[in-house]
C-alpha cells in the first residue's frame, strides 16, 4: 500500500458521491437494523432474566371459584392452605391470591375506570412467590383504606404516594364510593396486568370487590417433577376438602418460564431477520463492486501497466468496499443504539417488561461493527478477484458498444416476438449482464420473500383471531359478584336499558378430559363452554354430527376437532370429563372446527356440574314450612317449621331421646317444644304435608323454585306419615368444633356489616314472603352472607321438626340441585358493529341499572379486547416486518444502483437511439420496463419461497401450534403490486436521467 492507493480509493469515493452514498446508505440501513433489532431483543431478555427469578416462580397454579350452590359459608383460607401444606409435604411455598376487577376513578371524574385488585394471603413483605419490590412508601395496612399501586399504573395515571382515589365498594350494600389513599408504589415484575394493578391487604379485599376468599392458589414443590405428578391430587384435594371448586390447574416449569422463553424466541427471530437484512445489503455491495470493476476495466488495465500488481489492485477495490462499510457502519451503529433501546421500551410495554434505564447491548454493537465491515469485504472478494484478473490488453481494447454481446436463447426468442423495439431492447439487455441480473434479482427476491412471508403469517393470524372473535358475537360479558337468577336479570335489563338485542346465559369452566393431552400445556385441561342449545348453532357449524340442531334437549357434548384428533374419537364415542373433581361421562354428539381444545354442553347442565345453582337446599340451613295434621304451629296458616339437617349439626344438638333422622329411613326428630305442645312421644307418627300438598295460598308455584323437573312432586308424595325417632333441644355452639361449617365467627365479616341474617327471623312472623324462598338459604342480592349455620340455628323457632335434609327436599318436591344460574351473562347490542366506546357506554348503562338493584358485576368489553388483540398482532407484525422493510429498501437501492449503472454504461446506446430519432418517452419506457421485468422475475421466484417461509415462521412462533397453516391468497397480488411499486420507483430516476442525456453530453464524455 502506498499513498497512491489511498488517493485512488478516496478519489473513487468522492468522485462518484452518488454511488458512494447509495451503497453506504444500504449498509447503514442494514447495520442500523442489526443493532436495533438485536439490542431490543437482548435488552428485553436481560431485563426479564433480571426481574424474573426462577426460585420465585410457582410450579403449580390452581384456579378456584366458589360455586353459588355452596351458599353462605365462611371461607377459612388460611386453614385450607395449612391443611393443604400438611397433606402435601412436598410443598415448599404456598399462597392464595385474590384478583378481581375494581372500579376506581379520580375524585373529579364522573365515570369509573376499571383496574384490578390483587390481595394475597401472605403479607406483602413476606410474599415468597412472585414477590414485588417496594419502590416508595409503605405497604397498605388493613382497615386503613390504603392501596399499593404498581409502578407502571402510577406512571400512566401520574399517581404518587399520598394521592387519593375514589373506589366503588362492591362489597358494601349500596356500593358506596370511598376515598382510599395510595400508601406505596411497588414494582411487580410478575404481574402481567401491571398497568392496571392495585394492591390491598387481604382483609380489605371483600369489601372492595364483593368477593370473599381467593381465586387462585400458587405453590412451589421440592422440584418440578413432583409438582407435575401431584397436580391432580392437589386438585382433587381442594375440591373435596374446601368449599372451592377447581376451574383449572396449571403446572409450569420455572426453569422454562414461558415469558422468558417466548421473549428468547422473539429475540432469536428478530436477530435472524436482522442478519438476513444485512446479508441482503451484502448483495447490493456485491452488485456495486461488480459493476465498479467492470466499469473500471480500462483503469485496471492502465494501473497494471503502471506497475500495480494484481494483489495491489485487489487492495484498491477491497479498500473501496471497506470504505463503504465504514461510512455506513459508524452512523448505523450510533443510530441503532438509541433506536434499539427505544424499541425495547416499546415492545417491553406490550410484553409487560419495564426497561427503565438506558442500556446498550454489547453483542448488538459487536455484531453491527463486524457485519458492517465484513459484509462489504466478503461481498467484494469475488467480483474483485475476477475483475482484477483482466489483462492489460483486454482491458484497454475498446471494442465499441457491441463487442461482447452474447446471443442466447432468450435473444432468439425475443426477436421473433411482436414487441416494440425498445421493449425488445429491455429484454435483451437484461440477459447480457447475467451476473448482475442474478444479483439484483436475488436481492429483490429476498426482500419480497421476507415481506410476503412475514405478512402472510400476520394476515393469517389476524384471520384466525377474527374468526375466533366472530364466533363470539357478543360485545359484553359480565359476571355478577353474587349468583343471580338469569330470567330476573334479563327482565331487569330489558326494562331499563335501551339498545339491547339479546342477553344470553353462559357458563364456562376448565375441566380435565380423560385421555387427552394438550400439546400446548401438556395437561389434560380443556375448556368447557356452556351453550344455549336451541340458539347457538346453525346448519354448517358442525363438521361431523348434528349436535343439538335436531333436538335441543339432547344429552351429550360437542368438541373441537383439535381434541377429537388427539384422542382419536368421533361422534358416538363416549368421553369422560372431570369437572371440579367429579367425573361425568358424555357421548360426543357433534364436532366443530376450532384450533383450541374446547368442548360445549348445555349451560344448565354445566351449571349443575360446577355447582352454580340457586335455591338449592343446603343441609342445616334448610328451613321450610310444613303442615302437621292436628297440630297448629306458630307459623302463618298454622304451619310448623321443618328443618333439613345432617350429622354435621350434631355438636349443637342436645339429644333428649332417640336418634338423628337417617337418610332414606322414614323418620323425623322433633324439638322438645314441639313434642310437649303436641303431646308427642318417641315412636308416635305424625302426618306431614309439604310443598305442593300445602294449602293453596301458602304455596308458591314450583316453577319459581327450580327448573329441575327430575324431582317434581306428583302430589301424593308430598304427604307422609312419619314416626318420631328422636327428640332434641338446641344446645350451645361449642368452641373448637372440627367441622369447618360450624366454626363460629366472633365478629363481623367485613366493615359495615348488616346484623346477622335476619331473613329467617323476619319471615316467620310476617309470613309475607314465601317461606320457602326466604329460608332456603338463597342470598338476597346485596345482603351480606349469612353467619354460620350454628348461629342461624339459634334463630329458629322453638317448635321444629327435623328431617334428614334430602328426605325433606324430596317431600317438599324441590330438586336438590336448585336452579342453574349462569356464571356469565353475554350481551348482544342492537347497534350494528359498535366501537369500543359505544360498548363502554352500554356497559355503563347496564352497570347503573344493576347497581340500582343491588347487583354488582364485573364487565368485559369484548370489542375493546378484540381491538387490543388486533393491535397487538399488528404491532408484532410491524416489528417483524421491519426487517423485511429494511430488505425492501436495500433491494430497491440495489435496483436503482443497477439501473443507474446500466444507464451510465449504455450512454452510447442512448446516444444512438436519440441520433436516429428516439424521443424521451421511448428511452424512459425502456429502462422502466427493465426495472419492472426484474421485479416481476423476483416475484415469480419469491412467491413460492414466501409460502415456505410463512410455513416455517408459523411453526416457530409461540402460538403457532394453534393455527392451521394457510397462506392468504391475497398475498400474491399484494406482493406483485408491492414489487411493481418498488421497481417503478427505483427505475424512475435512472430512466429519466437516461432520457435527459442529450447526445451532446454523451459525446463530450468521449
Amino acid at each position: 500500500m502506498n499513498r497512491s492507493t489511498f488517493r485512488k480509493i478516496w478519489g473513487d469515493l468522492w468522485t462518484r458521491k452518488g454511488r458512494t452514498l447509495l451503497v453506504s446508505v444500504s449498509i447503514f440501513i442494514g447495520v442500523t437494523g442489526v443493532v436495533t433489532l438485536i439490542t431490543a431483543g437482548d435488552l428485553l431478555v436481560k431485563q426479564l432474566q433480571e426481574d424474573i427469578q426462577e426460585d420465585e416462580l410457582p410450579m403449580l397454579e390452581v384456579y378456584l371459584r366458589v360455586p353459588s350452590s355452596v351458599g353462605d359459608i365462611e371461607l377459612q383460607d388460611q386453614a385450607y392452605i395449612d391443611d393443604l401444606s400438611a397433606a402435601f409435604p412436598d410443598i415448599t411455598a404456598i399462597e392464595g391470591q385474590s384478583s378481581t376487577s375494581l372500579d376506581w376513578k379520580f375524585a373529579d371524574e364522573n365515570r369509573f375506570r376499571e383496574a384490578y385488585l390483587f390481595a394475597y394471603t401472605n403479607s406483602f413483605a413476606d410474599k415468597v412467590l412472585e414477590p414485588m419490590r417496594l419502590v416508595e412508601g409503605k405497604y397498605p395496612q388493613p382497615g386503613q383504606q390504603q392501596f399499593a399501586i404498581e409502578q407502571r399504573m402510577a406512571e400512566d395515571f401520574d399517581l404518587e404516594v399520598g394521592d387519593t382515589i375514589d373506589v366503588r365498594m362492591s362489597g358494601v350494600a349500596g356500593f358506596p364510593t370511598e376515598q382510599w389513599t395510595i400508601s406505596a408504589i411497588v414494582f411487580h415484575a410478575y404481574n402481567d396486568a401491571s398497568d392496571q394493578a392495585l394492591y390491598a391487604d387481604f382483609a380489605d379485599a371483600p369489601a372492595l370487590t364483593g368477593i370473599e376468599g381467593i381465586n387462585s392458589l400458587t405453590m412451589r414443590f421440592t422440584d418440578y417433577e413432583t409438582a407435575k405428578t401431584t397436580r391432580e391430587q392437589v386438585q382433587t384435594y381442594v375440591s373435596a376438602n374446601t368449599p372451592y371448586g377447581v376451574v383449572f390447574a396449571l403446572a409450569e416449569d420455572p426453569a422454562q418460564n414461558s415469558a422468558i422463553e417466548n421473549t428468547k424466541q422473539f429475540r432469536a427471530i428478530l436477530s435472524a431477520l436482522a442478519i438476513v437484512a444485512m446479508l441482503v445489503s451484502g448483495f447490493l455491495v456485491l452488485n456495486v463492486i461488480s459493476n465498479l470493476v467492470t466499469e473500471q476495466r480500462r483503469q485496471i488495465g492502465v494501473m497494471k501497466s503502471l506497475g500495480a500488481t494484481r494483489s495491489e489492485t485487489f487492495v484498491i477495490y477491497g479498500g473501496i468496499a471497506v470504505s463503504y462499510g465504514v461510512i455506513g457502519m459508524i452512523p448505523g451503529v450510533l443510530a441503532g443504539i438509541p433506536l434499539g433501546y427505544q424499541m425495547a421500551v416499546i415492545v417491553g410495554d406490550f410484553a409487560n417488561t419495564l426497561i427503565d434505564s438506558f442500556a446498550i447491548s454489547p453483542l448488538a454493537i459487536v455484531l453491527g461493527i463486524t457485519l458492517g465491515l465484513a459484509v462489504p469485504v466478503v461481498s467484494s472478494i469475488i467480483p474483485v478477484f475476477f475483475g482484477t484478473r483482466v489483462s492489460i490488453l483486454d482491458a484497454m481494447t475498446d471494442l465499441g458498444i457491441g463487442g461482447n454481446y452474447r446471443v442466447g436463447f432468450v435473444n432468439r426468442v425475443v426477436k421473433s416476438l411482436p414487441l416494440p423495439l425498445n421493449i425488445k431492447q429491455s429484454f435483451n439487455n437484461l440477459t447480457q449482464k447475467k451476473a448482475r441480473l442474478v444479483l439484483t434479482t436475488i436481492t429483490l427476491t429476498l426482500a419480497l420473500t421476507a415481506f410476503m412471508g412475514v405478512s402472510a403469517v400476520f394476515v393469517r393470524l389476524n384471520e384466525v383471531l377474527q374468526d375466533l372473535l366472530d364466533q363470539f358475537e357478543f360485545q359484553v360479558i359480565f359476571q355478577t359478584t353474587d349468583a343471580q337468577d338469569f330470567d330476573e336479570v334479563e327482565a331487569l335489563l330489558f326494562a331499563n336499558v335501551s339498545g339491547l338485542e339479546e342477553i344470553r346465559p353462559g357458563s364456562a369452566t376448565g375441566a380435565a378430559l380423560v385421555g387427552y393431552v394438550s400439546p400446548q400445556t401438556e395437561t389434560n385441561q380443556v375448556f368447557v363452554q356452556g351453550v344455549v342449545t336451541d340458539q347457538d348453532f346453525e346448519e354448517g357449524d358442525f363438521v361431523e354430527g348434528r349436535g343439538w340442531l335436531d333436538d335441543p334437549g339432547r344429552a351429550g357434548i360437542v368438541m373441537s376437532n383439535e381434541i377429537t384428533k388427539q384422542i382419536d374419537k368421533t361422534v358416538g364415542d363416549t368421553v369422560t370429563l372431570i369437572i371440579d373433581s367429579q367425573p361425568v361421562e358424555l357421548p360426543i354428539i357433534g364436532i366443530i372446527n376450532f384450533p383450541f381444545p374446547i368442548t360445549m354442553m348445555p349451560w344448565q347442565d354445566l351449571a349443575l356440574l360446577t355447582g352454580d345453582t340457586l335455591g338449592a337446599p343446603v343441609a342445616n340451613q334448610y328451613v321450610t314450612g310444613i303442615a302437621v295434621n292436628d297440630y297448629t304451629g306458630t307459623l302463618p296458616e298454622g304451619m310448623v317449621a321443618a328443618w333439613g339437617i345432617d350429622n354435621s349439626i350434631a355438636p349443637i344438638i342436645e339429644m333428649i331421646d332417640g336418634s338423628f333422622p337417617v337418610r332414606d329411613v322414614p323418620g323425623v326428630m322433633v324439638s322438645a317444644a314441639f313434642a310437649s305442645n303436641g303431646n308427642y312421644a318417641l315412636g308416635d307418627e305424625i302426618v306431614i304435608s309439604a310443598g305442593a300438598c300445602l294449602q293453596p295460598q301458602a304455596i308458591m308455584p314450583a316453577a319459581d323454585m327450580s327448573t329441575d323437573t327430575s324431582a317434581a312432586n306428583t302430589g301424593t308424595e308430598c304427604v307422609a306419615t312419619l314416626p318420631i325417632v328422636g327428640i332434641f333441644a338446641m344446645g350451645q355452639a361449642p368452641a373448637g368444633d372440627a367441622s369447618p361449617a360450624a366454626d363460629p365467627l366472633t365478629g363481623a365479616v367485613s366493615p359495615g356489616d348488616e346484623p346477622a341474617d335476619t331473613s329467617a327471623a323476619e319471615a316467620l312472623p310476617s309470613g309475607d314472603l314465601p317461606a320457602n324462598e326466604a329460608l332456603d338459604g338463597a342470598q338476597a342480592s346485596g345482603e351480606q352472607p349469612a353467619e354460620t349455620p350454628a348461629e342461624a340455628a339459634q334463630q329458629l323457632p322453638d317448635e321444629l321438626v327435623a328431617f334428614y335434609w334430602r328426605d325433606l327436599a324430596a317431600l317438599q318436591g324441590i330438586g336438590l340441585d336448585g336452579k342453574p344460574v349462569p356464571n356469565a351473562f353475554y350481551v348482544l347490542m342492537q347497534a350494528d358493529d359498535p366501537d369500543a366506546r359505544e360498548v363502554d357506554d352500554m356497559i355503563e348503562d347496564i352497570n347503573d341499572t344493576l347497581g340500582e338493584n343491588g347487583i354488582s358485576a364485573d364487565f368485559t368489553n369484548m370489542v375493546e379486547i378484540s381491538d387490543m388483540a388486533a393491535d397487538s398482532i399488528l404491532s408484532v407484525g410491524i416489528i417483524l416486518n421491519l426487517a423485511s422493510l429494511v430488505m425492501a429498501a436495500v433491494g430497491s437501492i440495489g435496483l436503482l444502483t443497477t439501473l443507474s449503472i446500466a444507464v451510465f454504461e449504455r450512454q452510447k446506446e442512448i446516444g444512438v437511439m436519440r441520433s436516429v430519432g428516439a424521443k424521451s418517452p421511448t428511452i424512459i419506457v425502456q429502462f422502466l420496463v427493465e426495472g419492472v421485468l426484474v421485479g416481476i422475475l423476483a416475484w415469480i421466484i419469491a412467491a413460492p419461497l414466501s409460502v415456505g417461509l410463512a410455513w416455517g415462521l408459523t411453526n416457530i412462533l409461540p402460538f403457532g401450534d394453534f393455527i392451521e397453516f394457510a397462506y392468504p391468497s391475497m398475498m400474491f397480488p399484494l406482493g406483485l403490486i408491492g414489487i411493481l411499486i418498488i421497481a417503478t420507483i427505483s427505475s424512475v430516476w435512472p430512466s429519466v436521467s437516461a432520457a435527459r442525456k442529450t447526445v451532446s453530453n454523451i459525446l463530450r464524455y468521449q
Binding site: K8, V302, K304, G307, L393
Partner: protein
C-alpha cells in the same frame, strides 16, 4: 556499436475473427539501440498499435521473439513483468487512459508509487516539474475530465516519463496537440533520446515524421525501414 536495446525477431501475430484468421504481423524484425528515436508510420488498421503492444508486453505474439534490455518479454510470465514494465517502459496510450478519479499530479505520481521510483517525499515535486515542462502546471490539482484533449495528452506524456524509463513508447502522442505543443513534445523526446532513452512512436503527422531520425513503415503486416539517419534539419 552498441548492442540492441529493443529487438524483435520474426514477430508474428494473428487473430481469430468470425471471418477467419486475420494476419496482422507477418514476421517483423526490428532493432533499436539506446538513444534511438524511431517513428512507425502506416495506414490505419495496419497493426501499428499491435506492434507496440508486443514491445510493451501488453500483448503476446503468436510467434517470434521480443527482447527489451535483457528481458525476453515473450518468455517472462505476466505477473513478473508488472513491476519491470513500470520501471522500464513509459507508455503513452492512444486514448490517454488517465485515471479519472484522481488529480493530474496524482496521476503522474501513481507510477512512481507503484514502481517504487524516486524518494517518496520527492515524487510530487518531480511530477510538478514535468507538468511545468509540458506547460500544464496550473492544471495540477484538477481532475482529467476538466482538461482539454491536448492537456490530457500532455498529462499522459508526463506520466509516461515520470519513472525515467529507458524505453518510451508513444501511440499517436501528438495527435491532439496544436503545433506548438507538438513541437515541444517532440523536443522533449529528442532530448530524452539524446540522454540515452529509446523512443518509439507512431504518428500520422508528416511534419513530425520529417524530423525523426528513424522511420519504419508498417504495411500489410510487414515492416520496412524507410529512413535511418541523423536528425535532418528542416
Amino acid at each position: 556499436m552498441t548492442s540492441p536495446f529493443v529487438f524483435t525477431r520474426h514477430l508474428i501475430k494473428h487473430y481469430d475473427t468470425p471471418n477467419g484468421a486475420l494476419q496482422v504481423l507477418r514476421g517483423i524484425d526490428l532493432e533499436l539501440r539506446r538513444g534511438d528515436f524511431a517513428a512507425i508510420v502506416g495506414p490505419s488498421g495496419a497493426g501499428k498499435t499491435t506492434l507496440l503492444n508486443m514491445i510493451t508486453a501488453v500483448d503476446k505474439p503468436t510467434n517470434g521473439e521480443v527482447v527489451v534490455g535483457d528481458k525476453s518479454v515473450v518468455h517472462t510470465p505476466q505477473p513478473q513483468l508488472t513491476k519491470w514494465r513500470a520501471k522500464n517502459i513509459g507508455i503513452v496510450f492512444q486514448f490517454f487512459q488517465l485515471l479519472p478519479t484522481i488529480s493530474v499530479v496524482d496521476n503522474i505520481v501513481f507510477p512512481m508509487d507503484y514502481a517504487g521510483v524516486h524518494k517518496p517525499s520527492q515524487r510530487r515535486d518531480y511530477a510538478l516539474s514535468w507538468l511545468a515542462r509540458l506547460g500544464i502546471e496550473d492544471q495540477a490539482e484538477k481532475r482529467p475530465d476538466m482538461l482539454s484533449g491536448g492537456q490530457q495528452q500532455r498529462t499522459a506524456i508526463a506520466r509516461a516519463l515520470a519513472n525515467n524509463p529507458p524505453l518510451i513508447i508513444g501511440d499517436e502522442p501528438t495527435a491532439n496537440l496544436d503545433r506548438m505543443s507538438a513541437e515541444n513534445v517532440f523536443n522533449i523526446f529528442q532530448e530524452l533520446a539524446d540522454q540515452g532513452a529509446t523512443v518509439i512512436i507512431t504518428t500520422y503527422d508528416r511534419d513530425i515524421v520529417a524530423n525523426i531520425p528513424i522511420v519504419y513503415e508498417l504495411q500489410e503486416g510487414h515492416l520496412k525501414e524507410i529512413k535511418n539517419g541523423k536528425r535532418l534539419l528542416v
